[in-house]
Symmetry: C2
Subunit: 460 residues, 2 copies
């Protein structure tokens, strides 16, 4: 990334409660971490709960409640200090300060403290005056806050609305002309963008403009087993093996059974094996060069054994840091993430996309949605002849696997393993029928920060 | 690109005279054409001049001047009809309608006519209340308009200010909530973005947010002559030849003489030959994977003769349509343009960048700044051991070449030529000394459309 060693940015959320601030913070955090930019959320609500306890009454948030005001400011101060410590001691790059920051005075204080340290400050204000959106936000997210544990939903909603009213009494939307900010108005219907200068600010703003909150599903499949897979060779542009062809033939039925009649679009790479895999699917198709498999440079067409023999040092280095290892004349997983960034941006904009691509590329995209770290990413299990369905939710991503009963080699190579565990073995499908659903766990998100991961509300 | 066959978009400019609308139209036009999206500007001012003649008095633009109003509306109607004809008969994708479009009524009419035909309408309003910017815009651009031919600058400026006053009397900024628009306020200090939905809309908006108008220079150099260059081989990751090393050694001096003391940043690809070429330059450096040479797939490491012998049909196909030809398992120039898009976006944001890259990649970037067509792009002359300096201006790009007196092979292969014209010949430098300036022509822009290219004002 274009970030010099001293570059730091703070995304400071602004907005009334239940305006989706934490959702935005969470998405930006995940996106930047995926790009390799060290990012962490500092949620003032969590600090406030530590100071003032759970279940605060709505009047705690009244501007005339001096004790409440004092404790909330104290929480904000500790959170900001922790964020600053994180920049200085842990080489943090992008801190996200999640709170209502609802007055000019609050913002002036944060801006002053951060610019002192040469941290660029980007305010992200979420504005929403659609009561339906606010209510659904309260029901979907807020009632699961620790503040409302063991409370019946109706009482909790009423309580929460009262809390919002207290905030509304003194809320000041951003009008400070000299601040860098983006206002997100009514979930993407309008944006106001002020004084954006830096590269990273501009990336974040573009990302925010691509987000939408309509429910969506994405399906990933690797190409059917290829001739190179059979020979344990990497790279190349070989066609499908007979079993790969079988998988391609079965795909339309699997898609019909599991994806149904949605208006699907199929994206493939430009490589033979993905195009062949998609060819019996009767949907609009798009070929993306960006979905091509990781370029293995001089190792293209070799087996892992051959690589280990010819480039033993490289082979060992790759095992040490698989994410950053770049094949001679080829790519690293880190390169791949950058190459796939426009695909992710497009995926954020769209619903109902089936992507037929390759092991390494799907690992990168899967990692984005599932929040895998750069250490985990290159080892994600993306088996052949399996459709992975993802349903991104506000703060998690549900995953389902549809395995197809056509055998295939297993191309997974665990860390530290010289070559594949089982060579050319036949993968025995566990499922019964053509599309048995094997796993259906709603995977929780990975912790973003020790404190932020505990809960998802931010009001201080 | 993600444009289905029926997809069409119109960028409709909005703004008072001298607010930089035509500049924005021109930049968007060039950017989209470069990406492969057929784009054309329809400038109502040119139609108005055809109908009402040159040198209209300021009162022609008075809202109470019925004859003036009638002629101006007539001009807008013909322009819009021509644009519609262009969509329907010439498969146009992105029409740019350049006029003041300064009332709700104007915009409603355009929006209605275009949405009837399923054309997405993006209004681009340029707002500026800084008198200095407006005056410099009048002086730099407007006084060269055919409307003011043979008039002394002072009289022309006065006349133009009166014209603006007539527009100001009835100007209505966009407030129509249901329209898709971006407002550009005071050259990048603020943006308001409303109801952006589509992919291309979002790309254009992002591009506009990256534009700035500070004067800038960009320098391109290919790597020094490589060992593969000597053998006439393409691709690979070879190091520099002895003459290539000489070039690398001379670079710091050339840079000092011609680029001076500017705070330069050097971007290279990740390939040995560009990194080696840059290694004596004492400036901050950044390696971009996106700047790597065009991937020639299975032909990597071969000579053109070998390719012609082994893949004669491919070789012929490449000559027929070099821009679209994709090497087996490799890339086309079209792929390269997409890969380089983020680099162009970054170049728009920055000043004083020296890029050390490769023949094909520099061709693509050069084509963007010089407005070359996709037919011309793959044949652009980018010789070895030469620094190309570009100074982008509002409507043109100045070019200077600094040749360095270190011989190198000529890797240029003209259309239809089986292999290089001169093999391994030594390039004789025409310049005297280390950095003789060989060419210094301010190249005019290529015509954007038969009418638009004639002049650069748009008021109707």
């Amino acid at each position: 990334m274009n970030t010099s060693s001293n570059f730091r940015i703070a995304c400071v959320m602004v907005g009334l409660p239940a305006r989706g601030k934490t959702y935005v913070a969470y998405k930006v955090c995940r996106y930047l971490n995926w790009l390799g930019i060290k990012t962490q959320i500092f949620s003032v609500g969590n600090y406030r709960r530590q100071i003032a306890g759970l279940h605060p009454p709505p009047t705690f948030f009244d501007i005339h409640n001096q004790d409440g005001m004092k404790k909330r400011h104290e929480a904000a101060e500790i959170a900001l200090n922790d964020m600053i410590k994180w920049y200085l001691e842990e080489d943090g790059i992008a801190g996200i300060f999640d709170a209502t920051n609802s007055t000019k005075q609050d913002r002036e204080w944060i801006h002053r403290e951060l610019t002192k340290l040469d941290v660029q400050v980007l305010f992200i204000e979420s504005i929403c005056d659609d009561p339906k959106i606010i209510m659904s936000n309260i029901k979907d997210v807020k009632l699961s806050s620790p503040d409302y544990e063991n409370l019946d939903p109706e009482t909790a909603t009423e309580d929460y609305m009262k809390r919002i009213n207290h905030y509304e009494a003194f809320y000041e939307t951003i009008t400070e002309e000299d601040l860098t900010y983006i206002k997100l108005i009514n979930v993407g219907s309008q944006y106001i963008i002020n004084m954006i200068r830096g590269y990273l600010e501009s990336r974040i703003v573009y990302y925010l403009m691509n987000l939408h909150t309509r429910p969506k599903r994405i399906w990933f499949s690797r190409h059917g087993e290829s001739l190179y897979n059979l020979e344990d060779r990497i790279g190349g542009d070989s066609g499908l093996s007979p079993r790969g062809e079988q998988y391609a033939l079965k795909l339309p039925e699997i898609v019909k059974q599991n994806i149904g009649d949605r208006p699907l679009t199929v994206w493939t790479s430009t490589m033979k094996r993905t195009i062949q895999t998609a060819r019996h699917l009767d949907f609009p198709k798009k070929q993306w060069k960006a979905l091509d498999e990781l370029d293995t440079g001089v190792c293209d067409g070799m087996t892992y054994d051959e690589i280990a023999a010819k480039y033993p040092e490289d082979f060992a280095r790759r095992d040490e840091d698989k994410f950053n290892y770049r094949y001679r004349g080829g790519e690293s997983y880190r390169d791949l993430v950058l190459r796939l960034e426009p695909v992710i941006m497009d995926l954020e904009r769209h619903e109902n996309i089936l992507i037929i691509s390759h092991q390494a590329t799907i690992r990168c995209m899967y990692a984005y949605f599932m929040g895998l770290s750069h250490e985990e990413l290159p080892y994600a299990r993306i088996p052949l002849h399996t459709i992975i369905e993802l349903r991104p939710k506000a703060f998690s991503c549900e995953e389902k696997l549809y395995k197809v009963d056509v055998g295939a080699v297993d191309t997974f190579r665990p860390k530290g393993q010289g070559a594949r565990v089982l060579k050319n073995d036949t993968f025995v499908c566990e499922s019964v029928g053509a599309s048995g659903e094997v796993s259906d766990g709603s995977k929780p998100i990975l912790p973003i920060s020790p404190i932020a991961s505990k809960t998802l509300t931010n009001e201080a």
